[in-house]
């Protein structure tokens, strides 16, 4: 039953909205305010993790993001253990044109998100929120002095550059909170790509530049070190 409905929905996508919007034409979406985002998330239907798991397989999310969301690839994000609000926000942002980055990994997600409705997005979000982030399987280890510098940045921030501690929003163990994503175990290449995108203005779906403002003064070396730090972080709740 679910399969049939999904296929029907997607076929409407093939012939309907996706085509009507033309070849890579950007949907017109307003940037979020804290209020509008909160309203939208409140209005989403309740997600069901079991249905979400089905959609995860049916929409082939598992091909890039792994069986439970733990990405086996360098290219794609791990999404296991993400708070459901975060997943919902990302999927809406892809669908409505707020994540229209010019690197092509984003393009995949735009097409997939356009084939899903709000209920299906909520179900997927519930499924990913069920699990916990795991350290990245292929993570290396940082040199001790680099590790202590990054650890300080994560826990204390850097007041001289107006950088607040990463942990203050992303959690003491990188576990994330509501629309703030979990970072523990994240794929380093994805982490770096995301941070660079914020830093260089390619990505701007954060509410009131809540994230990008902290990236401008980070060096490439710091971003790389943060990526490796979080990739190997073992979330111990």
């Amino acid at each position: 039953m679910l399969k049939k409905t999904l296929l029907a929905a997607a076929l409407i996508g093939f012939t309907g909205t996706a085509m009507a919007s033309g070849h890579g034409e950007k949907p017109d979406a307003h940037p979020w305010s804290n209020f509008s985002l909160d309203q939208k998330i409140q209005s989403m239907p309740e997600g069901d993790a079991t249905r979400g798991q089905d959609i995860h397989a049916q929409m082939m999310c598992n091909a890039c993001h792994g069986e439970k969301g733990e990405s086996p690839s360098r290219n794609y994000a791990s999404i296991n253990g993400q708070p459901s609000e975060y997943t919902i926000k990302m999927m809406l942002d892809y669908r409505d044109g707020r994540r229209w980055e010019d690197y092509k990994q984003a393009n995949i997600m735009v097409k997939i998100a356009q084939a899903l409705n709000d209920q299906q997005i909520a179900d997927l979000a519930a499924f990913y929120a069920q699990s916990t982030p795991q350290p990245w399987e292929y993570a290396g280890s940082l040199e001790a002095d680099v590790h202590s510098k990054v650890d300080r940045l994560v826990r204390k921030g850097d007041a001289s550059r107006m950088i607040v501690p990463c942990a203050s929003c992303h959690g003491a163990h990188g576990e994330g909170n509501a629309i703030t994503p979990a970072l523990a175990g994240q794929i380093p290449e994805y982490f770096v790509r995301t941070m660079q995108a914020y830093k260089h203005g390619h990505r701007n779906n954060d509410v009131n530049e809540g994230m990008s403002q902290f990236t401008h003064d980070l060096t490439d070396e710091e971003i790389q070190a943060l990526a490796e730090y979080y990739a190997s972080l073992n979330e111990a709740k």
Partner: protein, 443 residues
């Protein structure tokens, strides 16, 4: 990590880079970018490539990888090259021809390849020279030809090169033909009919006619919903026919009364026998079909240059040694791409690119006096059955029992599943493939 700055850096090879690679003496003596015959040490062998399309350009780049010292010259008739791949997109307006137009500037500068814009008019295999229309004679140690295809208009009564340039366009070499088909498609009246007549096997880009039929149907669905496309086929099967037909059912009502596509197979009499350009009609075994536009994609043989150089056999195509792509007819001459007889490999851009890489290693090994390494080929073809609906075929190939055959259990087409993401993702991958492919070929 400057990967995200999406700029394509124009990383010209500097004089210092070249000294690193070739040693100071080679660089000091000559101007390497002057298209000079003396650009390299005199002792370095000279490999001449006829044709700067997918096969020729890929070959030159990868031969440079396999041998930093060899002299490489490409002779190409036109300063710009329009890829056939994705030219169906131009017919329906998903791409412009400009987006499919490339040149050999990067091949020349980054890989230190001599590029000559001229037409080859003959070769002397005993003296190992080629002659050009502008009156030059170039000597070579190894010659590589990648001459594409030629059409057999004579297979259809009433058809001719002239008719194919004025009214019954093939659209199977990208350029003015592509734009002419676009113009015809846009002019089909309400409720009108378009005919596509695919060729007999073997031919360039086996899914091309069927992707084109899909695009016509999609275009009609959006702009002219009572019009339809009729495919008149001499064959009973075609590549990826399973997933294509499933897509036609899902998208265009195939097999219903209101279908936007009708496919007449060979057994049903689909083979076109004759064409009447004045009345826009074709005669088939199944009867006469009249239409508002007729797109005959004629039967094919190896490109004219291959015929002229005597590299073809009775089949009209070029027999090659499977380990190296070296001609079975002329030793020291190699044939790449559509013109070659490559057994299980389809005549695709991907195949030509794949063969060029095998050939580059074989030529480098031969020039060094080494035994050849083991050949490995591949082909992946993504086609669109709709703008957001992709279907694909993929295989790795090896030489086995003297033939190029699928290796292991690699060969396969897109599964027909009820997973809605499969065709969506394949359509995204298709676009990824196209962007990446032309970069591998031309930069």
């Amino acid at each position: 990590m400057s990967q995200l700055e999406n700029k394509v850096f124009d990383s010209k090879v500097t004089r210092r880079d070249l000294i690193k690679v070739f040693g100071a003496s080679a660089v000091a003596a000559t101007g390497l970018f002057g298209a000079s015959k003396n650009a390299f040490a005199k002792s370095a062998p000279h490999v001449v490539v006829l044709g700067g399309g997918v096969g020729g350009s890929t070959f030159a780049k990868y031969l440079r990888f396999a041998d930093p010292d060899v002299k490489i010259t490409i002779i190409e008739q036109f300063p710009e090259y329009i890829t056939c791949l994705r030219s169906n997109d131009v017919i329906v307006g998903y791409h412009t021809l400009d987006e499919l137009t490339f040149n050999l500037d990067t091949i020349k500068s980054k890989y230190n390849v001599n590029v000559v814009i001229d037409k080859v008019i003959g070769a002397d295999f005993d003296k190992r020279t080629v002659q050009t229309a502008k009156g030059h004679t170039l000597s070579y140690d190894k010659l590589v030809v990648s001459p594409g295809i030629d059409f057999k208009f004579e297979d259809y009564e009433g058809h001719s090169k002239e008719l194919a340039e004025t009214k019954i366009f093939h659209g199977y070499k990208a350029g003015p033909q592509t734009l002419a088909l676009r113009q015809q498609l846009l002019s089909v009246p309400k409720g009108g009919t378009a005919i596509i007549a695919p060729p007999q096997n073997p031919f360039r880009c086996p899914p091309g006619p069927y992707e084109r039929a899909s695009f016509f149907a999609e275009y009609f669905q959006k702009h002219n919903p009572t019009a339809k496309v009729i495919v008149l086929d001499p064959k009973d099967r075609f590549t990826k026919d399973g997933p294509f037909k499933k897509a036609w059912e899902r998208l265009y009502g195939y097999k219903t009364d209101n279908s936007l596509i009708e496919w007449v197979s060979g057994s049903e009499g689909g083979r076109v026998l004759s064409v009447d350009g004045d009345n826009l009609s074709v005669e088939t075994m199944a009867g006469t079909f009249k239409a508002d536009m007729i797109n005959i994609i004629p039967n094919q043989r190896a490109g004219k240059l291959a015929q002229k150089l005597g590299l073809t056999d009775a089949s009209g195509w070029c027999p090659i040694k499977r380990e190296s792509m070296e001609s079975q007819i002329q030793p020291g001459v190699y044939v790449l791409g559509d013109s070659s007889i490559a057994d299980a490999m389809p005549k695709s851009g991907y195949s030509a690119n794949s063969q060029a890489k095998v050939c580059a290693r074989a030529v480098a090994d031969t020039l060094r006096g080494n035994e050849l390494g083991k050949a490995i080929y591949s082909n992946v073809c993504y086609s669109l059955a709709g703008e957001n609906y992709g279907v694909s075929i993929a295989a790795i190939y090896e030489v086995r029992d003297g033939l190029i055959q699928p290796k292991g259990k690699s060969a396969g087409v897109s599964p027909i599943t009820d997973k809605p993401a499969q065709p969506i993702l394949e359509a995204v991958y298709q676009k990824n493939w196209q962007r990446e492919f032309v970069k591998d070929v031309f930069s």
